[in-house]
């Protein structure tokens, strides 16, 4: 199976992040690792691009960020963890619904064999 590059994920990245955070709080790298595992290693995302999406989600109140108390290991920079909010949970439910109908409609057209 071919990998899915960052540009094709545009528009879906925020829902992907919300669904990954449904499994528990995580920092940026952990979110990417979960995406990689769940996407069977086929999601190819430039890692920095995750953060603008996280900031948009946080700004809209769908996730809530919090800093770890101490820098992790000897790195000197603190990691920021994210948690799904109630608003985020509602938005995720809507996103799932929209995705199901998208797959159904487009799948019936593109997937149909003549």
């Amino acid at each position: 199976m071919k990998s899915i590059e960052g540009d094709k994920l545009r528009g879906h990245l925020e829902t992907l992040i919300l669904s990954v955070l449904e499994r528990g709080d995580a920092h940026g790298l952990e979110i990417l690792r979960r995406l990689e595992v769940l996407g069977c290693g086929l999601l190819r995302l430039k890692e920095g691009s995750l953060y603008p999406a996280l900031y948009r989600l946080e700004e809209s109140g769908k996730i809530k960020g919090f800093w770890e108390d101490e820098p992790h290991g000897r790195r000197g920079a603190r990691r920021r963890f994210y948690r799904l909010t109630n608003k985020g949970k509602r938005d995720l439910a809507k996103g799932r619904e929209a995705w199901q109908s998208f797959v159904q409609v487009i799948g019936s057209i593109v997937g149909a064999q003549t």
């Binding site: 890692e47 953060y51 603008p52 920079a77 920021r80």
Partner: protein
């Protein structure tokens, strides 16, 4: 990880964050978070290939193009933070030249008066009383505004310069705490509020004797003023240190 490697990682992060037009606090947050991420992927790569040079290249590839990331980060900045960015540019900074300080003072005073006059006009237009009363009320309030705003802006400018002076006196790295300078700063802090209260009232009313009452009232908070100013200087010093390390990086490719 040695200091050079850390600097190299910071430069990659700074290439993405420096061009973003956002408030300094937000940019600092971006920097710290992106640096933690980039450091983690660099360590990942070192563990994989055991070669720091190759690991740095791989980490950079995984992180993505900083210029593209800068654009994406810019799009994630909300409108209020963009306004904050503009206000930060327009605000007084200790390293501004005198010309810049005067320019900012005049422009700031003009804008503040214009905004307040606009609000005053809106308020008066909603008032049901006669036009003659409105004109009189406007004249009185405008007169007060035109006198008070330059004083407030002046206080703000002097306040920032003074906090920076305190920062250098009490917190500057490498410089010895000079007893005489520290004593002068504490005396200035002590008298700051009474003197400002006196000047403010005297300029507004021209009544020097009546203004003394405000001087005495200002003296009531004077004993805690030095502590207050020093705490502000400490906070300011922390912010400056956090920013300086990033601002001093040379990020040209």
């Amino acid at each position: 990880m040695n200091e050079n490697t850390r600097k190299s990682l910071m430069i990659i992060v700074e290439r993405a964050v420096r061009p973003v037009r956002a408030g300094e606090a937000r940019k600092l947050h971006m920097r710290e978070e992106l640096l933690a991420h980039l450091t983690a992927i660099f360590e990942d790569e070192v563990a994989r290939c055991n070669d720091e040079h190759v690991a740095m290249q791989q980490a950079q590839i995984r992180f993505g193009d900083p210029h593209k990331l800068a654009k994406e980060l810019q799009q994630s900045v909300p409108i209020l933070n963009r306004i904050r960015y503009l206000l930060e540019i327009a605000s007084f900074k200790p390293d501004d030249s005198w010309l810049q300080l005067i320019g900012k003072y005049l422009l700031g005073t003009l804008i503040m008066v214009a905004i307040l006059v606009l609000l005053l006009l809106i308020g008066l237009s909603l008032d049901g009383r006669s036009m003659a009363w409105k004109i009189m009320a406007f004249e009185i309030r405008f007169y007060i505004l035109a006198k008070v705003m330059p004083i407030i802006m002046g206080f703000m400018m002097l306040g920032i310069l003074f906090i920076d002076r305190l920062r250098k006196t009490f917190f500057s790295q490498g410089s010895r705490l000079l007893g005489a300078r520290a004593a002068i700063d504490i005396i200035i802090s002590f008298f700051a509020f009474p003197v400002l209260a006196f000047i403010n009232y005297a300029v507004q009313t021209g009544d020097l004797t009546g203004s003394l009452k405000f001087f005495y009232e200002g003296c009531m908070i004077a004993p805690v003023a030095p502590l207050l100013f020093i705490l502000m200087a400490r906070q300011y010093d922390r912010e400056m240190r956090a920013q300086e390390e990033w601002k001093n990086l040379e990020i040209d490719e």
